[in-house]
């Protein structure tokens, strides 16, 4: 049992963290958010590196922080993988991994043996110092060091941020396997939605120190609740008032696939948006005029920003861009089929 139950409240000048957080036994939760949202502060609060101003941290029923009560980090069993790993530069990989067990009173020979076993399993040379390790190896050593101390809860702060794109891909899937093998609860801080999607059972989106959305990665990606999440998921996000299929967004009306009443979000994919030079006739009910303000290539397609009554991001083929001469400043009409528009309560 290592259920985490926390309310993290920390005030700094110009910033306040107010984040309720629960992690079920064995669950991996991702804290996803932009830089400066307070994700790392939340992690430090859980680890005991930044004491809470208010709130509490409980793990498996044991109170670790509940001002004025405070348990120092060395008396918590919380492993941390730091963003830049913080491997002790004067110790070898083996000594780094053996550090935790040694500090918790395991004999020197046994600690080193355990560390050697862990490192051999990861394919990392035990006698290297951190500066002689590749980025991927350093990441593995950092994880092994945290796990060797036998933590109840594992915290990972942007575990892949220090790696190049190539390495990140392989280390990410490896990390997923290692988290599964660890079996304990874990919190991963990241600004990369792909990390959250691959590593986490549940995502908590943090913006400006508060949780704005929580759910499974798929759920969050499909039904974003803030412009930030919509941008991450690559979706158009609008907010309006629904009355059946019709959703009033500002002065315009959007027709959605499902029915709803009251405050709703409306989301649709950029690839569901069609672009015309003249007002299209026929079936589509969602048709708006606008001006192309940005046209940029994305892969073998183009992403267009169309500003108008309803600002829309559209994804169109390069051929369409050439045929319709969709340069910036061009007056166009955009349309979205109602079947492609999802509405859900705000």
């Amino acid at each position: 049992m290592s259920e985490v139950e926390a309310l993290l409240r920390i005030r700094r000048t110009g910033f306040a963290l107010d984040l309720p957080l629960t992690v079920a036994s064995g669950e991996v939760v991702a804290l996803l958010g932009p830089n400066g949202a307070g994700k790392t502060t939340a992690l430090r609060a859980l680890a005991g590196l930044s004491p809470l101003d208010e709130g509490h941290v409980r793990i498996g029923g044991r109170v670790l922080d509940d001002p004025p009560l405070f348990v120092a980090p060395e008396h918590r069993r919380i492993g941390v993988v730091f963003q830049d790993y913080l491997l002790f530069p004067h110790h070898t990989a083996l000594e780094n991994v053996a550090f935790g067990p040694r500090s918790r009173g395991v004999g020197k020979a046994e600690a080193r043996e355990r560390a050697a076993g862990l490192l051999a399993g990861l394919g990392v040379p035990a006698d290297r110092r951190p500066r002689q390790l590749s980025g991927g190896q350093a990441q593995r050593v950092a994880l092994a060091r945290a796990l060797a101390a036998d933590p109840e809860l594992l915290l990972l702060d942007e575990p892949l941020a220090a790696l190049d794109a190539q390495t990140r891909l392989s280390v990410r899937s490896e990390l997923r396997r290692q988290l599964a093998a660890f079996g304990g609860s874990a919190v991963v801080v990241t600004h990369d939605p792909l990390d959250a999607l691959v590593l986490a059972d549940r995502v908590v989106v943090v913006e400006n120190g508060v949780a704005v959305q929580s759910g499974s990665p798929q759920e969050v990606a499909r039904r974003p609740r803030t412009p930030y999440v919509a941008r991450l998921a690559g979706l158009n996000l609008l907010r309006g008032v629904a009355e059946g299929h019709r959703v009033r967004v500002g002065a315009a009306v959007v027709v959605a696939a499902g029915e709803a009443t009251g405050d709703v979000f409306v989301a649709f994919r950029p690839s569901a948006v069609a672009v015309y030079r003249a007002r299209p006739d026929g079936s589509p009910r969602n048709v708006w005029p606008g001006t192309v303000t940005l046209a940029e290539p994305v892969g073998d397609a183009y992403r267009l920003l169309v500003e108008g009554e309803i600002p829309v991001t559209a994804e169109v083929s390069a051929a369409a861009v050439a045929d319709l001469d969709l340069v910036e400043g061009r007056q166009v009409w955009v349309s979205v089929k109602a079947a492609e528009v999802e509405s859900y309560p705000a």
Binding site: L49, F88, H90, S103
Partner: protein
């Protein structure tokens, strides 16, 4: 030299004068040294006694500096320490104080009639002044700031987050200090120890004031040099040469650290 030369004469000339001023006396020492009689002069029993005493006391005071100076530096490096800048200033005072003043101050506190000395004398029958221990005390007094400032600089330059990482791994604060903080600051500790040792070895003013100059007991090399100058100039030169060699060796051991750290 082709091109624009080294620089304007207004800078080059005084610069060269300054260099000559620094180097010439040392060169003179080397040139005027009685090279042929050197083994005999340095082999003299009183010279050897002064040398032995100097090495012994300088090493002992360096050890004391490490024992008390490293923890003091650690305290000064704690961001949460109240009145830190005032304490740092106090530690720096002996650095700029004329050593002879330091000797007088030590006498006033640890002398037989001193604040602490009187009590020491009555309670334990211990009298510090004019003993070998007094030499060690005087040398420690002048050398300690060098060690403290060097170690404190190293501690402050070190990344504190390594200590946090160690704490999350279950290390007690003492273990963190021993296995993470101190090893990371080791170059600074070593540099500080070498500086302190060199400063202790060359100590004159505080030593002669507080410990006097008794051959074999409190007469260290610098004191022996000063006294020999009256009676046996050649011996003084030989001893000076020896101290010069030690100083240059110290500088070599520190290499660029001397220039960059202080």
């Amino acid at each position: 030299m082709r091109g624009r030369g080294i620089g304007p004469p207004a800078l080059v000339i005084p610069g060269v004068v300054g260099l000559v001023f620094l180097v010439l006396p040392l060169a003179g020492l080397v040139i005027r040294a009685p090279w042929t009689r050197l083994p005999q002069l340095l082999g003299d029993e009183s010279v050897l006694a002064a040398l032995r005493l100097s090495l012994l006391t300088a090493t002992a005071s360096t050890a004391l500096c490490l024992v008390f100076g490293v923890p003091l530096a650690w305290l000064l490096a704690q961001p949460s320490l109240p009145g830190r800048s005032v304490l740092r200033a106090l530690v720096t005072v002996p650095l700029v104080l004329p050593p002879v003043v330091g000797g007088v101050a030590l006498l006033l506190v640890l002398g037989r009639r001193g604040l602490v000395g009187e009590w020491l004398d009555r309670a334990f029958g211990v009298s510090l002044p004019f003993t070998t221990a007094a030499v060690v005390v005087a040398e420690t007094f002048v050398a300690l700031p060098f060690l403290v400032l060097s170690v404190e600089g190293a501690l402050r330059a070190a990344d504190r987050r390594y200590e946090e990482a160690a704490a999350t791994l279950g290390a007690s604060r003492w273990t963190v200090f021993r296995r993470v903080t101190l090893p990371l600051a080791a170059p600074g500790v070593l540099a500080g120890a070498v500086l302190a040792w060199a400063r202790a070895l060359g100590e004159f003013g505080a030593t002669i004031t507080f410990a006097g100059s008794f051959p074999g007991r409190t007469q260290t090399m610098p004191l022996a040099v000063y006294l020999a100058l009256e009676t046996n100039p050649d011996a003084a030169i030989a001893l000076s040469l020896l101290l010069l060699v030690v100083s240059v060796a110290t500088l070599a051991a520190l290499r660029d650290r001397w220039v960059t750290r202080l």
